[in-house]
Amino acid sequence: MILVHDLSLIYMISNPLLLRMRKINSIVFLSLLAFLSSCNSGVFEEHEIGDNLIDQSTEVLLIDTFTIHSSTVKLDSIATSGAKNILFGQYNDEFLGKVSSDFYGILDIGDGFNLAKNNENVIIPVEFDSLIFITYYDKRYYGDTLQEQSLSIHRIQEELEFVDGSSSFYGHNTFDFDAEPLAEINFKARPNKKRDNGDQYNFRIPMDTELGTELGEEILQLAMRASDTTSNSQQWNDYFKGIVLKAGDKNGAMVSFQTGDTLMKMRVYYSALEGENTEEALHKDFPVRTSNLNFSNYKSDKTATPQDLGRIVEETEDLSSEETDNLAFIQGGIGYLTKVRIPYVEELNTLGLTGGILKAELIFYPKDESYDDEIFRLPSSSFNVFVTDDKNQRLQQIMSPSTNAPINSVYNFNSENKDESFYSIEVTSFINSLLLQGQDFDDALLISLPLGELGNSMERMVIENDKDSDFRIRLRTTYVVQK
């Protein structure tokens, strides 16, 4: 019996036409199929035709009429140690009072004050000539440098020691020092001055008061005796605990001096009494290095100011703008930050069936006529904005939703109407989390100069928040309402 199977095979082979037809059919079949499955895949092109036929269920709005409550906050402890360029001086600020900064620094003896010896290994006697203090300006300044201001240098009588495991001093720290100064001088700050040969100009302060002269002579005496005090660093620092540069009372400017080996130092000039070079002026430098033991103390006297920010005492307090002429303040050094609350932002959730926020921007304007281009300039860096709680803890910096990295404010300069220039920062993620999780009374934003710079900055800004003003703080939100 021939199997049907074999028969059909024979059948097929014996009929080439049939075989070919089948093959052609299958090819047609398969290629059509391949065509179909490949063509239907992928994305549509975009088209506008028929947009009026499809119901749109949403409306997208710009809403910027939120009430913004602002207030000013003062930080307790701002680390002011270890700056390469320290702030010094005093100026009167219309809003922030008499602002001043003193500098506390340790003088380094280096390898020691070792006088030259003669052939018999005996120290050549020397004579004290003068004692001066040298500093170099850094370009920064704030306030009117044309005004004459005063400076005095005093000897610190208390050891500069860190407290409580800290490794830094803070803007409110002070240490005891002699009331009598080692140096006193009136000067006009010249932060941009250069020497004729293009070198940096140094500010030479003669330490020629009674106490200053006494100090200079005493140092030389100790050196001539090859005392441990002038050869051992530890002993030297016990003997001479440091200097404080104190700003005087006059309304001048805040200026900046550089610290470092070759830049800020006390120098004693002396000359040899014997030997060949009795005419030569010799000197020994006691530099103020860049170190965490050196720090600035910031003070401001706000009693004469109309807004009286002196009312803020604790870091956990804030002074509402309504009590400070509808203004809020930011200042480096002293440490004022502006706090912003948006109490009714959750009302967005009541619009429509539901909705979503696409973008939210916080916009703030510097108060008109609170700044200018020369003396009281707007801060040079952008602001950091933090999410905070009722205790003004900086919980987290505002992040970009896409890169998950902190973002800073952007200054939008209006060249036609400079007064309408403003700062903006995208706070979409923050507002979105308020909408999703509900807002506590505690939720707020803090606007600050960059935290790392706060201890070494005298820049400040006054923010306008009068609710009747076009330039009040705003939250501009683009919101989708689901109908």
Binding site: M1, N40, H47, G50, L358, N432, T478, Q482
Partner: protein
């Protein structure tokens, strides 16, 4: 009895493969249409008849053939050839020019029209199984709009995808010499998804999305009847079809989200269970044979969509009326040798009011069709090609008019089963 399963098994597997491919492509939100009108109702109602009927304007109720699985009227299955196992795959490509006012656009859409197999079980009873699309949703509209109260722009994207499919079990019974009856049991399933996505043109990372999904599955049925009578030289066929209104259970899921990358949240979620109605419909057809080579006929179908509800709510759909006519000429008188004489030629036309009314303007479709049936060697199959030229909608009242050309390729393969061969 020896069965030759070798080639049939391969074809069977291929057919199941097709069926799965079909289901996969339609449920993975690929689309068989690009029309904005597919936003309405359950989507654009798909043409899923046989290639024969498509080339005759959709006329099918009074039509029958030995090698045709005419699922539209299940009673016609009673006249399928014995000893024949029919595999059927249909594919369509639609090329559309859209017009609205001065704007024009062009789309290509592709889909499978049907995957089916059927055979005569006994002298009086035949059965068939098929998978075919019922409706399709596919629009993609992107608009750039001004944010209310701002000078910035946003992009609004409206997309629809998905559609309903049906798995049909058709049965046809020859009751008497002249009368056959049939019933289709249909399992309808699918996802209809409509979404609205909004994002800002510049500098925002948040994307707002409103996604609405209608997930349906349910069973319904329809009935068919055919009656043949001789009138002189002619053979008249009458066809009728009836479908009752039946609710198909459905789940409506709405999700509104607002995300930037992976950060964000679901703003609103809702899930509703209910049903949408398959409309009560009836159809009448008449056909006339002259000899074995010529047939002509006409159909009328009425679907009462205005009576249907979706989730217990009235909808704005209107009743659908479809009128079609067609004729077929089989050039093969039994002795044909030349290729051209072996083919069957068809033509037809239709007018379909559709079930959508937009601002009291009915969106209707009309068209003409042409087709050929090409027999494969030794009666192993038949390829039916159809070309339709039609027009949907109007440009009045700022509506969209779609001018389309649709090419359908419908392939039937015949397998001889149950053939006794006695050889010693």
């Amino acid at each position: 009895m020896n069965i030759n399963p070798f080639y049939s098994t391969k074809k069977f597997i291929a057919l199941i493969g097709f069926g799965l491919l079909f289901i996969a492509t339609t449920t993975s939100a690929q689309n068989s249409t690009s029309s904005p009108y597919s936003y309405y109702g359950v989507g654009e109602l798909m043409e899923n008849g046989s290639g024969n009927s498509i080339s005759m304007g959709g006329t099918s109720l009074a039509y029958r053939g030995g090698g045709v699985l005419n699922i539209n009227n299940p009673a016609s299955l009673a006249h399928v050839d014995s000893l024949k196992f029919i595999f059927n795959v249909g594919m369509a490509a639609k090329f559309t020019n859209m017009n609205q006012g001065q704007k024009k656009d062009f789309f290509n859409d592709y889909n499978l029209t049907k995957v089916a197999f059927g055979f005569k079980v006994s002298p009086r009873y035949s059965t068939a199984f098929s998978v075919s699309p019922y409706s399709s949703l596919g629009y993609d509209i992107t608009k750039r709009e001004l944010v209310n109260g701002d000078t910035d722009y946003m992009i609004r994207s409206l997309k629809g995808s998905g559609g309903l499919n049906q798995l049909t079990w058709s049965n046809g019974v020859k009751v008497t010499k002249n009368l056959s009856l049939g019933v289709n049991g249909i399992y309808v399933f699918g996802n209809n998804t409509r979404s609205e996505v909004i994002n800002l043109e510049s500098g925002s990372d948040y994307v707002y999305r409103n996604n609405s999904e209608l997930i349906s599955q349910g069973l319904y049925f329809n009935l068919g009847a055919q009656y043949e009578m001789n009138v002189g030289k002619y053979v008249l066929n009458l066809g009728a079809k009836y479908q009752p209104k039946i609710g198909v259970s459905a789940k409506q899921k709405i999700e509104v989200t607002n995300f930037s990358g992976s950060a964000g949240a679901v703003r609103h979620e809702d899930e509703d269970r209910g049903a949408f109605d398959v409309p009560e419909s009836y159809g009448l057809g008449f056909g006339m044979n002259k000899g074995k080579q010529f047939w002509l006929g006409a159909d009328y179908m009425h679907e009462k969509w205005s009576d249907t509800q979706i989730f217990d709510e009235d909808n704005d759909l209107s009743d659908r009326d479809k009128f079609s006519f067609g004729m077929e000429y089989n050039a093969n008188d039994g002795y044909a040798r030349k290729f051209l004489k072996k083919m069957t030629y068809r033509l037809g036309g239709f007018y379909d009011t559709g079930y959508i009314k937009f601002e009291s303007e009915k969106i209707s479709t009309m068209g003409v069709s042409f087709g050929v049936g090409i027999p494969m060697a030794r009666q192993t199959g038949m390829i039916n090609l159809a070309v339709e030229f039609g027009m949907t909608g109007t440009t009045d009242n700022n509506l969209v008019r779609e001018d389309f050309t649709r090419i359908t390729v419908d392939i039937n393969l015949f397998e001889r089963w149950f053939v006794k061969r006695k050889y010693r």
